[in-house]
Structure formats: C-alpha cells, structure tokens
Amino acid sequence: MQVEVPGPWSPLLGRLTLDAIPYTNPILQGTFAGAALAGLIVIGCVLYFKKVGYLWREWLTSVDHKKIGVMYIIVGLVMLFRGFADGLMIRTQQVIANGPNAPGVLGAQHGFLPPFHFDQVYSAHGTIMILFAATPILTGFQNIVVPLQIGARDMAFPYMNALSLWLTTAAAALVMISLFVGDFSAAGWVGLIPLTELPFSPSTGVDYWMWAIQISSVGTTLNAINMIVTIVEMRAPGMTWFRMPVFSWTTLSTNIIGLTAFPVLGVALALLGADRYLGTHFFTAGYGGNLMLYTNLFWIWGHPEVYFLILPTFGILSEVIPTFSEKPLFGYVTMVAATFAIAGISWVVWLHHFFTMGSGPDINGFFSVATMLVGIPTGVKLFNWMFTLYRARITYSVAMLWAMFGLFLLLAGGLTGMMLALPAVNYTVHDSVFVIAHFHCMVLLVVASAFAGVTYWFPKLFGFKLNEGWGKAFFWTFSIATIIVFAAMFALGFQGETRRLDWTFNTAWKPMLMVEEIGMILYVVSLACFAIMLVVSIRNRAKNRVGADPWGTSRTLEWLTPSPVPFYNFAVTPQVNTRDELSWRRKHGLESAKPAGFEAIHMPSNTGMPVIIGALAGIWGFAMIWRIWWLAGISLLGIVVCVIIRSFNKNEGYHLQPQEIEAMEKNLATGAIVAEQPVRTHLHHVEAH
C-alpha cells in the first residue's frame, strides 16, 4: 500500500536518517545554537527556581480560560518572532541577490540562500504568520476576554479548551522541529499544486507543512465550537444579544466561519495526504486528477480564514477606540450587522485568489463584484469608528495609538484591495509583490490590533500596566518600519516584481529593495523596544499595580473583575442592565458595589490529559511525516485510550464555598493576588445541575 519514496526507509526509523539533520548548514548551526541556548536558559531557570511543579499545576494542566489564553498568546508571539526572522532572511536575500552580477555564497548562485532553502524560508514565513502566530494570538484574546465580557465563569468546555491549545502547540512545535530535522515545505504556504505532489516535493518538507496544519486546524475547529457554545449559552443574566460587547459579537461570527471553513481545509489536506501516502490522484495533473480542485478547496477555506483573522481584529478596535474616546461606539447595531455581512460575504469571494486561472469573464465578473461587496460593510465599520471619535475625549495611550495605526492600515489595504478586486487590474499585479504589500497591510492590521489588545488587556490579567514610554518607542519604530517596507513593496509591484523570487533579476529594483531592507532593520529595533518594554514593566510591576479598571474609562464587563482576575472570574454572577455595563454602573456609582452574600461556585478541576494528548498528537505527526508506522500506530492508539479514559472520568470539579470566596475577595481588596488555586479533592457525582 505504501507508495515509493526516494531515499532509504527502515521499519524502525522510517525515512529518518542522520542525513536528515542539516548539521553542515552554517545558518542552521547558528539557529540551533541560539535555540538550544534559549531552551537551556528557560529549563535552567525553571529548575533553579524550582518551578516545575508550579508550571505543571498552574499552567500546563490548567483549564482556566485566562491561562489558556495567555499560553496561546505566548505560543503566537514566539512564532511571530520566528516568522519575522524568516521575513528578515527573505528581504536580505532579495536585496543581496539582485541582478546578474550579484555574488553568491554558501552554495547559492546569488545571495546566501540557494533556491531550495529560500523557498522553505518563505513558505515557513507564510504558514507560521497566518496559522501559528496570528491565529493563536487572536484565539488567545478570545479565550481571555469573551467569558469575562459576557459574565461567564469559564468557557463552556474548559477541558476541550485546553485540548485545543495543546493541539495547536504540538503543531507549532512540529514546524519548529522541521528547522533541525529534515526540511520544511518549499511550495508556498498555500501548497502550490501540483508542486506539493510527491514527484516534485519528494522530501518530508510538504509532510511537515501538511500535518502541522492538519493538527492545528483540529484544535482551531474545537475551539470554534467552544466559543460559539460559550457565547450562545453562557451569557450572564440580562446580557441580551444586543447588550453583548462588539468583541464578543466578532468572536461569534469569526468562530462560525472557523467551524465551517476549517473542515474544508482538513478535507483538502487529507486528499493531498492520500495522494502523497497512498498514491491516489486527487490533485495530480494526470490520471484524472484535478489540480484546480485543490486550489478551489484551499481558498474556500483560505478566504474565510482571512476574515477569521480580521473580524476579531475589528472587535479589538471596537473595544479600544471607545474606551480611549470615553464614548460609546457609534452605530452599535450597524456594527454588528456589518460584522455578519462580512462573515457572510467571505464565503463567496474565494475565486479572486486566482482570477488569472482562466475562468472566463462571467465567473470573474461575479467574483469581482462579490469581492467589492466586502467593501461596503468594511466601509461602514471605518465610518463608525471615525464617528466614535467625534465629540470624544481621546487619550493617546499606546493601545489607542495602535488602534489609530490600524485604521490607517485598513485604509491602505482597502484601497489596494479594491484595486485587486478588478480583474482588469489584477491581470497586471496578480502574482506581483503588490499583492504581498496589500495583504501585509491587512495582516499588519491584525498585528497592530493584537498589540493594541496586549497593551489594553495586559493589566487585567497581570495586575500591572506595561511601560508606556517603551511601548510608544515600540509603536513608533514598528509603524514607521511598516510604512517604509510596504510603501517600497507597493512601488516594486508597479515595477513588475513578482513574488517568491530567490534571485531578483532586475537591477532596476535595487533602490526599493534597499529601502525595504532599511525598514527591516527598523523592525529589529522595534523588537528590541518590545523586549525592553516587557523587562522594564515586569521589573517595575510593584509601582504600577492597578485596580479593577486600570484605564478609568473602560466600558465592558471584564473590567468589573479585580485585576488580576481571580480564577473564578466573578465572585457573584453579574446582572447585566445595559450595553456598556461598566460605564452605566460607573455613571450610577455602582462600579464598586459589594455583593450582599456569596454562593458556592462550581469549578472544573485541572487535568493533565490535554497536554498528554497534545504531546501524543505531536509524536503522531512526527511519525507520519517520517513514515515511522509503528510509532504513528502507538501514538494514535494512545490518543484513543486517553480519550476513553477521560470519558470515564467521574471528576466533575469542585465547589468553592461561600466563606472561601469571601475570604479571597477580602484579600483582593487589600491588594493581594490570588495566585494559586486551592488544592482540593474531587467532587464525585455532583448532583444534577
């Protein structure tokens, strides 16, 4: 049954041999040394400070939506850094390898990256940034914020929530392992077909790409179910649909997209897997395969995925802008309508990713107009944010600066997006770097609002603010770098530079490539500012302690809880009276009203099962990639056994007693932090609830 693969294969190690480890490549030697050093420092610190138990009890086995959210964001930031390093290599290669006389080192004809290596770098850059940086960061925000915003104690399925996180983490780990064991896909983050088929990509690179995405998309789908159920079922009393904060609305719409779109990707990759592993011909050019089918399936997921990223981004902007404008969001109802309009239209525009495939004028015409329709609700959103600023009282703190820059990027991305929506224009810039610059405007809008979100919600979780001075340094360097790099890239698009070039053959591109490189250097400076901001903020945390509402002008329910939020979120489930509940309570002097009494809270117990299943999924992925069948079988069996064990687990959590809550709430009032969850015995057979 197994298809022929080039190179050796042994029953014990599959395709894995010593040659798979690229120890002769100086770039990877340096990367490995750096990664190993960083890893040793982290492990050393954990051991030195004796935090192994703490890490296991409080983080790895946690089912607390806030801690899971924080871990999602940490995974996302680590991958963002990796993806940036890839971006830096792409830009540096293109500026060095310019023109026929460009020098070449390390086996490259021109520049320092031979094509096969360069192709892996750009493929990894795209895969990582979309699926392992942006997606986890936004999922993290949704995890942290949504239950708090709707007045819930946790997500609907806390255990499944942890499982989603660890599946995503296992997939991210596989992408990282591909650096040092074997190679990564050299066929683009979209999996250019039929380049991803075995004859053209015989190594394990495409398999790394395919299985990593497959595993993470299971995590994302589970998370989508969890989010939808949480929002539909777990809103606090009084929180009617039209009292729900816009971020929660965008989370709902985005996860409807996630739940419906990710299975399409799963099917497309499974069929590709069948081609690569079983010798079928779903997407080959020959034997009746249809390669255009893959392209369609990929973008039927891929375009909704774009909105999967952009809608929560719009949600963050809709929270940050009113808070720092000291005003409600303008046009709340139209904002919600626009959110769902975007989500709906996102399903009927996928073909604009390949207007040049020769579909004919009628089909291209349909998808052109459909694509433009997205501009209507997006325009509505932009106008609504603009009118929110009217007669406002705007504070330009770091979060607000990011949000304003986000609006600028949305305008730039919108302008160029409307250009690309015209097939007549698209025919001239379709595969050019103009497209790259356009969608980087959009994904950097995601990044800008992610940083707005980090700055905005950080004190809620950790009880102290991030340093504003370094935050501003980070903001200005990052945003100016963005403008420099992508203004130059738009220019290069008009000069006719196409994407994914290992060797930029035209010397006329040199000046703009140089400008891009200058912008990249500024990005490096901004990363340093970000690191300093974190260090300075953590060092000075005692001075910057904050109360429930660190900004003083927050409007939604999450700011009603103490900062940092205790593990049970709300001591008493809040009764919601209006939209923008906190600002209503503030107006009526109720924001620090104390409850008359407490009731017992039913809490879920921590469990190590998700992290174990995640690890097994990672091992299974690795075994599938290297075709180590016995290991794949054992790890898959392990997952099944774990799921069965979990199904018979009678642990239904525990009850936090009223006197305990009272004691903890008193403690909070005097400024102490509830750091550790009390260890307690399991509840067996909690009465039906």
Binding site: G107, Q109, P114, P115, F116, D119, A186, G188, L192, I193, L195, P199, F200, G286, L291, K327, P328, G331, T356, M357, G358, N364, S368, M372, L373, G375, I376, G379, L382, M386, F387, Y390, A392, R393, I394, T395, Y396, M404, L411, G414, L415, M419, L422, A424, V425, Y427, H430, D431, I480, I483, G493, F494, Q495, G496, T498, R499, R500, L501, D502, P511
Partner: protein, 304 residues
C-alpha cells in the same frame, strides 16, 4: 509628532520616482495594457474620493477631540439614523459604480478573447500570430505552428500583429507575464489556457514566470521582441535554418528540469506539428518530469 512634516515629503519622493521608466506598469504599450492601466487609475481615483476625506476627518477628529483640548464632549452620542444610512449608502454607491466598471473592463481585456482586439482580428485575420507556449521546469518553449519553428526563452512577434498564445505546462503550474504587454494568466499541466495581446510598437521587453514553480523559478525569464514584419520574416527564416529539430523525443530532453542560467536562447526547426497537444495529453496521462535531488542542493548543478 516632529516627524510629521518630513513624512509629508514621502509621497512627493514617491511621485518623483514614479516618473522613471522603472515603473513598467505606469507605461503600458498596447491596447490591453493601456486599458488595464486606466482601470487602475479609475479605481484608485474613485477610492481616493472616499479614502482621502476619511483620512482628513480622522486626523481632524483625532486632533480636535484629544483630551485636554477643550473641544465639545458628548459622552452619549452614539447613534444618528441619517448618518448611519449614509455610511451604508456611500460605500454601496461606490461599489455599484466600480462593480459595473469592473465587469465592463473584464470583457475588454479578457485574456482569451479581449473585446478590445476583436475588431482588428475581424478586419485583418492575417495579423493574428498563433504561438503555442509550453512551460517546462524551468524554461519557456515557444512553438510557432504556422512558421514551423520553435525557440527556448525567446518570443519574437511582428509589429501590428495580434498574438494569440495557447499555454500549457509539462509538470507544474505557472503563470506567464509580460509587463506592459500581456496580462498574467495561469499555465497548468494537462490543461490549456490562452493569453492574447497586441503589438503596436517596436521594442525589447522581458517576460517572465509569475507563479512559483520550484527551485529554478527565478531564472524563468524570456526575451520578448516586437520587430518589423520584414525583420520577423528574416528571423523566422534564420530560426528555421537551425539544424536542431524539435521532435517530441527532442522535446522530452528539453523538458528535463533545468534552470537556464545565463539566459541562453535556442532555436529549433520543424517542431512536431502535434507537439502542444502531445504535451497536454502526456500530462493528462500522468507523465511527469521529477526534479533530481541534486538540483535542490545547487540550481546550477546540471548546467550544460
């Protein structure tokens, strides 16, 4: 804040740079590219009619209503029916207008059968030049079925002609693009796509592969020349004097993965008259040209 006046200079610099010939898309050469460039301009202007005022108002509100400026503050204003109708209405009108314009221009430049060139084709069928284009890993083979010649990495067409290309690929997907002349269109194995362009003025251009097709992709440029009809005839005669003949067997050698480093142009006489169809049929029958492992290490390793 002090950076702002200098930032304002950036667009000026950009405009100055745009006047140079490097910005190929700003200097279309034929009817098709001119229409595409006009569409770019029309779309940009219409969008800027919205975006520039929004930018200005954002800047104005952002400055005027900053905390401490003492401007009017209305902490409850969040709804205005007329304004909300307007914010839906304005984008709707813009999209309606641009949508109509988009569909109209698609038919004008549609690469299979552009409306712009139909009149010329009908009036002067003799001016149509058929070229069969086959993308290999990683070269372009141009077959002139009527002139009975073929080239590698060179496309020569007579001035005044309408060039109708049929496109296919031996093994992986690609995209063909000649900036200023021919729109991008996908080139796929086992499939036939078409691209059409007119050639009104003499000149030398560079066409290239636009969609990634593997390690040798960066080297997939081809020389594009528009020459006078007399020169074209002379050129075809010169090419047909080539002793290399492009039989299907010879083509199978050409189609082996190879990056044309140094941009060597080759000519062939008497190409197999069925060559294009044979390549399509072969891909459909599962013929592939796998990339040898050595090429993934060094792209120049099989340079002849």
């Amino acid at each position: 804040m002090r950076l702002k006046p200098y930032l304002a200079l950036l667009p000026v610099l950009a405009l100055a740079a745009c006047s140079s010939g490097d910005y190929r898309l700003f200097h279309p050469l034929n009817l098709i590219a001119t229409q595409e460039w006009h569409a770019t301009i029309v779309d940009t202007i219409v969008m800027l009619l919205i975006i520039l005022p929004v930018l200005l108002v954002l800047a104005l509100f952002g400055w005027r209503y900053r905390k401490g400026a003492g401007a009017a503050y209305d902490p409850d204003w969040s709804h205005n029916t007329a304004l909300e109708l307007l914010v839906w209405g304005v984008p709707f009108l813009v999209v309606a207008g641009l949508g109509y314009y988009s569909v109209k221009t698609i038919y004008a430049v549609e690469p299979y059968n552009p409306g712009l060139l139909q009149k010329q084709e009908a009036a002067d069928p003799q001016s149509v030049l058929n070229v069969d284009v086959i993308a290999t890993d990683w070269q372009w083979v141009f077959v002139y079925p009527d002139q009975h010649i073929a080239t590698i990495d060179q496309l020569v067409v007579p001035q005044g002609s309408v060039v109708k290309m049929r496109l296919t690929s031996t093994s992986v997907s690609n995209d063909i693009f000649i900036p200023q002349l021919a729109p991008m269109i996908a080139v796929m194995p086992g499939m036939l796509t078409k691209d059409t362009f007119d050639a009104p003025a003499l000149g030398n251009y560079t066409g290239f592969a636009a969609d990634f097709s593997g390690a040798g992709f960066s080297w997939m440029q081809f020389d594009t020349k528009i020459v006078s009809p007399a020169d074209f005839t002379a050129w075809t005669q010169q090419a047909s004097a080539s002793s290399d003949q492009l039989s299907y067997e010879a083509f199978q050698q050409v189609a082996q993965p190879h990056a044309n480093i140094g941009a060597k142009i080759s000519y062939f006489s008497s190409p197999d008259p069925q060559l294009f169809d044979k390549v399509v049929a072969a891909a459909q029958a599962g013929v592939v040209y796998p990339v040898p492992a050595a090429l993934t290490k060094s792209i120049g390793s099989n340079e002849k």
